[in-house]
């Protein structure tokens, strides 16, 4: 399995554990991730609010470079980068007029031959036996609430690999890692994303609902597949506690961190020591 890999701008900042654990797990599974040379921002959470054209052109530059790598499939861990790349890909492959216009803006020709997959889909589509074969430290007894958020599964016309209301890809991977995946109601409820920067007072109410639902189901921890979801649920857990008087202490992992842990990768290599909510209680649960 060979992929053109898009790291995304948080890869060595707020999302650095995701980056580290992605490479560790990919190595275990024999996935080759070839970084797109000189990749640039996908437009993130901002371009779509300013210009339809900019919103397609920023990811299109990366698609054009990736197409030149001759690999055929692109993957990225960040749910927002995935959405941006998949959206641009869909618009440019389905509409010649848009493709020509965007190519003119980027000055690079994208022919529209790529398939864009989220890392959740890329790893989750691997033969379960192959994943299980790598599990040397099963996460037995660990109750995990898999949180997908929005952009990974919606809108289904752009994403489409999993159910938009009750996605199961991460749940299935957690089961393969030996954990118990909880059936819970807030898998795809929005965390507020960049409202955490612009309007924290709104975001804390949204984050609170998600944490509350996970706690009520008895979750030991949550797994996510997006650096922004992680920032909001991990770092801003403190803001929720402060503003709403709650007492959450819920470890939040990237799904690749827990997979890596089950595959025997050391907690240090996975970045488990740089979370804001203490991960030690989960580490002691799984030995």
């Amino acid at each position: 399995m060979r992929y053109a890999y898009f790291p995304g701008c948080s890869y060595h900042g707020t999302g650095k554990e995701y980056e580290a654990s992605t490479h560790a797990v990919a190595k275990k599974l024999g996935m080759e991730l070839v970084t797109i040379p000189d990749w640039s921002c996908c437009g993130a959470t901002a371009a779509h609010g300013k210009s339809h054209l900019l919103n397609v052109a920023l990811p299109a530059r990366n698609l054009a470079i990736a197409e030149g790598m001759g690999i055929g499939e692109v993957t990225t861990g960040c749910a927002a980068c995935y959405q941006q790349l998949a959206n641009a890909n869909k618009r440019m492959t389905e509409n010649q007029e848009i493709r020509d216009k965007v190519n003119k803006v980027t000055g690079k020709e994208y022919k529209g031959t790529l398939k864009v997959k989220s890392l959740v889909e890329a790893i989750g589509s691997i033969d379960p036996e192959q994943i299980k074969a790598q599990v040397v430290k099963p996460l037995s007894g660990l109750k995990v609430a898999a949180y997908y958020g929005c952009l990974l599964v919606r809108p289904p016309e752009i994403t489409g690999f999993d159910d938009p209301e009750n996605p199961m890809f991460m749940d299935n991977m957690m089961k393969l890692a030996g954990a118990e995946a909880l059936d819970w109601a807030h898998k795809t409820e929005c965390c507020g994303a960049s409202l955490g920067v612009s309007n924290l007072g709104i975001a804390v109410k949204m984050i609170n609902k998600i944490l509350k639902a996970a706690v009520e189901k008895g979750a030991d921890c949550m797994v996510v597949a997006c650096p922004f979801c992680h920032l909001n649920l991990d770092w801003h857990q403190k803001s929720v506690n402060k503003q709403l008087g709650t007492t959450y202490d819920m470890p939040v992992f990237y799904f690749t961190e827990l997979l890596g842990l089950a595959m025997g990768v050391s907690p240090d290599e996975l970045g488990l020591k740089t979370h804001f909510t203490d991960t030690q209680k989960v580490l002691s649960l799984v030995g």
Partner: protein, 193 residues
């Protein structure tokens, strides 16, 4: 909300109704107000108009009210509404279109909406300059322009201690290509500050 004459509003803003349909590509006229979008919207509690009200206002041509509403900026683009709409209207995409139209028309967002636009501009400002989002620069710019100087200030030290604070921006080699993208878009359609 002030009272409005619906017949006059529709007649006066017929072009707007058509424009929204074309630009968003969404069949807004199909909405029959079932309210499913609002029922599932995770951020409706913070909006001045709920999502179903926004679509009705589009049908009624209430351009001015919509372009200055906070809702179109507060919408988190989570697409729960779009996924559930029985008429297959991608409401989140309509919101996005309204946001872009508001920007083009020079309507300054007010209240909570203002902070969203400031954040967009701060983020895109770093992208235009470096080719990638520079998290520290984004927060500093955001705080200067929003007037909330100490927004996220409590994050600085812990982020630094965890090695998550990227002090220097990472600049792409093709920075000129990114500048070109911004320049071309401005030339072709405007809307990007």
């Amino acid at each position: 909300m002030e009272s409005i004459n619906i017949n006059q509003s529709i007649a006066k803003n017929a072009q707007f109704i058509e424009e929204i349909g074309i630009e968003s590509g969404q069949p807004v006229q199909k909405c029959y107000q079932c309210g499913k979008c609002t029922a599932g919207c995770p951020v409706a509690f913070a909006m001045d108009y709920t999502p179903n009200q926004v679509i009705r206002m589009v049908q009624l041509g209430m351009k001015e009210e919509l372009l200055k509403s906070e809702t179109i900026w507060i919408c988190a683009s989570c697409s729960t509404c779009s996924t559930r709409c029985p008429c297959e209207v991608e409401i989140a995409h309509v919101m996005e279109t309204l946001r872009i139209m508001a920007g083009r028309s020079g309507t300054a967002p007010a209240g909570k909406a203002k902070y969203v636009e400031v954040m967009y501009d701060a983020l895109l400002g770093t992208v235009e300059k470096y080719g990638r989002t520079y998290e520290v620069g984004l927060v500093l710019n955001n705080n200067l322009k929003s007037g909330k100087l100490f927004n996220g200030a409590d994050m600085g030290l812990p982020m630094f201690q965890k090695g998550k604070l990227q002090l220097m921006p990472s600049k792409v080699q093709g920075a000129a290509e990114i500048a070109r993208i911004f320049a071309e878009v401005r030339k072709m359609e405007g809307g990007v500050k």
